[in-house]
């Protein structure tokens, strides 16, 4: 089973991952191969089986609502590629036409 190049491109867009033509080509074969292998799970009867999202017998772990020391503003932006006065600077999300 191979994924089409369009399917691979669609998934790459969902993952916000720029792929070269060569990568698109390569992944359509490789992902198809791995998915064909993973498809084994689909033949298992799981009608009465609950899912396991995680293994611990813990639900809704709560912490006391207490203020504690956290990173300083300087530390928080220290690794940012671009920051300004303690803020992360990003490319504008909306264009300036107001559209």
């Amino acid at each position: 089973m191979n994924l089409t190049k369009d399917e691979v491109a669609h998934v790459a867009e969902l993952a916000k991952l720029q792929l070269s033509d060569t990568e698109l080509e390569e992944f359509s074969g490789q992902l198809g191969q791995i998915l064909a292998y993973a498809q084994q799970v689909q033949s298992v009867d799981t009608s009465a089986v609950p899912p396991t999202p995680q293994v611990l017998p813990l639900t809704n772990v709560l912490a006391a609502d207490e203020a504690s020391v956290s990173l300083s503003n300087d530390q928080a932006v220290d690794n940012a590629p671009d920051s300004d006065e303690g803020y992360f600077r990003v490319v504008a999300v909306f264009d300036d036409t107001g559209a």
Binding site: A15, Q30, Q40, V55, V90
Partner: protein, 491 residues
């Protein structure tokens, strides 16, 4: 202490040996730290276990540890140098997870496991190589080049904690921290002829561990001996308010469990784990280890884990789904590599396209696919259901036996480059290890022999969740009487 031979001798010591030597005053922490730093200088050009070392900080910390000891400080790891896998954050020390996308990233805080080692007095020698974001089984997926196996430089050290395992095997560190999502502590320990312990899920905090598969990841020690693994686990284990997936249970004194007496221990042999495709020498070594366990008074019980074949496909669906969500954070805004996209989405696409290597992209793609509209039920939900069935297999097995025994990996260390172009073949090397992560079990790999090419073979002992004392006790009894640890690689 001076002289090259004396210095080299120090680098053969494990954690417990170091601790005894320091306590008795036979050598200082500065002697010890210097010895390991010199060893790294001498051999790491050939091994590439370390991505970076921190000699100045290490020696300064060592001098401080020596002063503290003179003042009566007796912390368990005081003055002992260790290596840390580069997926664990270390305050002030660059941490890349083996990826270009984090090149130059200097964390403002340390992982809890690292912090606990530091609080116990340990010193950091440096950060070890890893498959990018711990995605791999050979350390060949590091963006900074592969690590080589100290036993044979044409072979991989295993992965993803290959740098940590190679460093310990090559006497570049007495012990190291690794992480295990599907076998990444146990398999490299097996390939490098040393001990690797994957704690139960929830035993060790994941805070500050760069996330890969959050329901599977655990931090674990990679050591020269079982006693060292027990000691390090004692230090790093325990509930952490900063990780809500740590279990609020007491941390036993694991070292006290190492009595050497395993009479009456029930060891289960999963029939499904001895199948075609195992290298004959591996099967032979593990079968003779089983006889050895029996001679120590253990009861050997054949058991069934009927859903074994499904573990790998389930693992690959679960881990890639979790990875695709976890790695969404690498957007080039708050840290790491940043491209110059004209729009914000271009910026994301280009940053991620340029920063991630091929294996990481492949896994993000697979996980995104498995979570995407129309496929979620068929892949991700289904995988989670089969995960329950795999857990039930182990519940049944552990109602009959105390531990399970199998090979750690179906083969010894394979050749560099042998599997890089075949992602599925690489995946299959994890066949005996991923189940433990899916079920939250604890597991340990200990050396159990060598193949015809003098490559180490490891056996795996699995225990139920929070059953570390039992697997450590069993591993210790075997290690002490089988004595495979007396051999070390020639470098």
């Amino acid at each position: 202490m001076t002289g090259r031979n004396v210095t080299e001798q120090l680098t053969t010591l494990g954690v417990v040996d170091c601790s005894e030597g320091l306590a008795s005053g036979r050598f200082s922490s500065v002697d010890l730290t210097q010895a390991f730093l010199q060893r790294i200088d001498r051999v790491d050009g050939r091994i590439h276990a370390f991505l970076r070392t921190t000699p100045a900080q290490a020696l300064e910390a060592a001098a401080e540890a020596d002063r503290a000891r003179a003042d009566g400080d007796r912390r368990p790891l005081l003055g002992i140098p260790l290596a840390i896998k580069d997926v664990l954050m270390t305050t002030g020390i660059e941490t890349t997870a083996g990826s270009r996308i984090l090149e130059g990233f200097v964390p403002p805080y340390s992982a809890t496991a690292v912090e606990r080692l530091n609080s116990a007095g340990a010193i950091i020698l440096g950060k070890t190589n890893t498959d990018e974001f711990a995605m791999g089984s050979s350390t060949e997926n590091s963006a900074y080049g592969p690590t080589l196996n100290p036993w044979n430089l044409d072979r991989v050290p295993g992965g993803s904690s290959g740098g940590s395992a190679a460093a310990v095997a090559a006497n570049e560190a007495p012990a190291a921290l690794g992480t295990d999502t599907g076998g990444s502590v146990r398999q490299p320990a097996a390939f490098c002829g040393i001990v690797g312990l994957k704690p139960s899920y929830g035993r060790v905090s994941r805070y500050g561990l760069i996330a890969y598969g959050s329901s599977l990841d655990q931090v674990g020690p990679i050591t020269r001996s079982v006693a060292d693994a027990a000691l390090l686990l004692e230090v790093i284990a325990g509930a952490d308010p900063r990780d809500s997936t740590t279990m609020p249970v007491d941390v036993p004194a694991f070292s006290s469990a190492l009595t050497g007496d395993i009479a009456g221990l029930r060891i289960g042999i999963p029939q499904e784990y001895f199948v075609e495709g195992i290298q004959p020498e591996v099967e032979e070594a593990v079968r003779s280890a089983i006889e050895h366990f029996a001679s120590l008074g253990a009861e050997i019980v054949p058991v069934r884990l009927p859903n074994t074949e499904l573990a790998l496909p389930v693992y690959y669906l679960v881990v890639t789904a979790e990875a695709s969500a976890n790695l969404a954070r690498y957007d080039g805004i708050r840290f790491g590599l940043s491209a110059d996209g004209e729009t914000v989405f271009d910026h994301f696409r280009q940053t991620r396209g340029a920063g991630f290597g091929p294996e990481v992209k492949r896994r993000i793609m697979l996980g995104t696919y498995a979570l995407s509209a129309g496929y979620y039920d068929a892949y991700y939900l289904k995988a989670q259901q089969v995960r329950t069935m795999i857990r039930q297999d182990f519940d049944r097995a552990f109602s009959q036996v105390d531990v399970l025994l199998s090979p750690t990996s179906p083969t010894t260390a394979f050749r560099i480059g042998e599997k890089v172009d075949d992602p599925l073949a690489m995946i299959l090397t994890d066949i005996f290890t991923t189940s433990a992560n899916l079920a939250g079990l604890c597991g340990i790999s200990v050396p159990c022999g060598f193949d015809g090419s003098d490559l180490p073979i490891g056996l795996q002992l699995l225990g139920p969740p929070f059953g570390e004392e039992t697997i450590l006790a069993a591993a210790y009894a075997y290690e002490q009487s089988a004595n495979w640890r007396l051999r070390s690689p020639k470098l």
